[in-house]
Amino acid sequence: MQVAFDEDYVRSAAAALDLALSPERVRAVAENLQRMAVIAGPLLEVVLEPEDESALVWRP
């Protein structure tokens, strides 16, 4: 699930959400995403079983 959070990723993801970003902000957001990816690393390494449900379980 590793993702290359480069400026192209930011531009296309932001466009999909109708977010207009200046070139400076594209760069800053990409840097934030890269820092998040470092912290998220241990999370993405966890191998889950199909039975491992989300903590978000809807109770009507």
């Binding site: 932001a14 977010l19 902000r25 957001v29 934030n32 998220a40 999370l43 966890v46």
Partner: protein, 468 residues
């Protein structure tokens, strides 16, 4: 009996309530004194965003009137309190530390927590400063200014509930309310050297509190002693259908249990992640406090790094999504320190967010297994003491890192799965206070508070500059 405005109490909520209920001091005189004290001190501290003078005097007058007609105003009779400026206060815009929220209409009712505190007799005197939208651990807010740590005004108070912690630490009010998504009660409690309680997720109603990360948000109190912490916690308990996360459990009052002692409780100090991610001097203070509780045993909390990562991703994704409309329309009005972080969160892959929510349950199961063998876990609350205002970086065990997001390194693995925690003041490092987390299994707040009381009896208490 003549009600004297002269303080004959120690400034604690319990003593104030006793004096007011007995008629030895009037709630109105006390409110006036408190308002004067806040105005004088806040020019330096910047802990408050609003002072609710007219409301405070009216509420205090109502307490005095109730007493005059023989009614009991409640266990917090006349006790001044303040709330983080994300709790709705009728007649005020709920700023949540933002400039954008100034344009929202004033709240037309009080948050549930404010209603409950007032029903117990407490008197609201103001709202307190915070990081914008609670996304931070330092209360360096470019719209409303940084809140200064009362023990060294060049340093941060912690965040995001920094104003609430500073107000209590400075002795301006005995009780304040804050919120904790990733550590926003525990980090400022640690930095300001006071007690804080983050109850179990779902224990206290968040109705009327501006959200940050719905699946992680908690509310809780700060105080300068454990009795006051329990008094406020008990006043806040009870189901509330207006908050979908709020449990329907009946209140489980903690105050009466405080003095049951800790004999027979299995208490262990967390090592591994919780030692490696804190400065050695902080770990040493926690080790000493653990010994004061008779806890020589150590325990490894499994997968804490994954728990922290899950909390981090959930926070970024939910926070970013919550603010997406304003990120589109009013990006320039956000706090410069967080706008790019919020935007980045909104762009995270859905697969990461769902992995985080699944890992959260997986991690919860691993940790619950620990509680078969231990009742209370002790761990540092912050990696180090408060950094200087404006300081971008700090280092932990020689590793440089961004200061603002990493102050919550040790709190995030705990709140990720909603465990109850008391943050306890346990000493100083570099002349500044540091705190310890007292952690228990879900719905066992009373164990955290009993251990906190035992620590208090062993001589631990709020940091005082003169005594340091």
């Amino acid at each position: 009996m003549t009600a004297s405005p002269v303080a004959s109490h120690d400034g604690s909520a319990s003593a104030i309530a006793q004096e007011v209920r007995s008629g030895r001091i009037s709630a109105t005189a006390l409110a006036r004194t408190t308002l004067d004290r806040i105005r004088a001190a806040d020019a330096v501290l910047n802990a408050f965003t609003a002072i609710t003078e007219a409301r405070a005097l009216a509420a205090a007058s109502a307490v005095d009137a109730a007493l005059a007609r023989g009614a009991d105003p409640g266990p917090l009779a006349g006790v001044p309190f303040a709330v983080k400026d994300l709790f709705d206060v009728r007649g005020l815009p709920t700023l949540a530390g933002s400039a954008i929220n100034r344009d929202r209409p004033a709240a037309n009712r009080d948050a549930a927590a404010v209603v409950r505190m007032q029903a117990a007799g407490a008197v609201l005197v103001g709202t307190t400063n915070m990081d914008e939208y609670a996304y931070g651990f330092s209360t360096e807010n470019s719209h409303y200014g940084a809140t200064r740590n009362p023990h060294d005004t060049e340093r941060v108070a912690g965040g995001s509930s920094g104003g609430s912690a500073a107000a209590v630490a400075a002795g301006l009010v005995p009780i304040t309310l804050g919120t904790d998504t990733n550590g926003s009660i525990r980090v400022p409690a640690s930095f300001c050297g006071i007690w804080g309680l983050k109850p179990t997720y779902g224990r206290l109603s968040r109705s009327g509190a501006f959200p940050f990360v719905a699946s992680l948000d908690h509310i809780g109190p700060f105080a300068r002693n454990v009795t006051d912490l329990a008094l406020a916690y008990d006043a806040l308990q009870g189901p509330d259908t207006a908050d979908p996360a709020c449990s329907d459990r009946a209140p489980e009052p903690a105050l009466a249990q405080l003095d049951r002692g800790i004999e027979g409780l299995r208490i262990a100090r967390a090592v591994g992640y919780f030692e490696n991610k804190a400065e050695a001097a902080v770990v040493e203070q926690v080790r000493r406090a653990a010994l004061a509780l008779g806890a020589e045993r150590t325990i490894e909390v499994p997968h804490a790094e994954q728990g922290r990562a899950a909390a981090f991703v959930i926070t970024a994704a939910e926070g970013g999504q919550l603010h997406l409309p304003n990120l589109r329309e009013r990006a320039a009005d956000f706090e410069p320190l967080i706008v790019d972080r919020l935007t980045a969160g909104a762009l995270l892959p859905a697969a990461w967010y769902l992995q985080a929510q699944r890992v959260r349950r997986w991690y919860y199961r691993k940790l619950m297994a620990l509680f078969a063998d231990v009742d209370v876990i002790l761990a540092p609350a912050t990696p180090r003491p408060a950094q200087r205002i404006g300081e971008e970086m700090f280092s932990v065990r020689g590793v440089p890192m961004l200061a603002r997001p990493n102050a919550g390194l040790l709190t995030q693995p705990i709140s990720c799965i909603g465990l109850p925690v008391v943050a306890a003041p346990v000493g100083t490092v570099e002349g500044m206070p540091v705190g310890m987390q007292i952690i228990a299994a879900p719905w066992r707040e009373e164990l955290c508070l009993r251990a906190a009381r035992a620590l208090e009896r062993a001589g631990y208490g709020p940091f005082a500059r003169d005594a340091a």
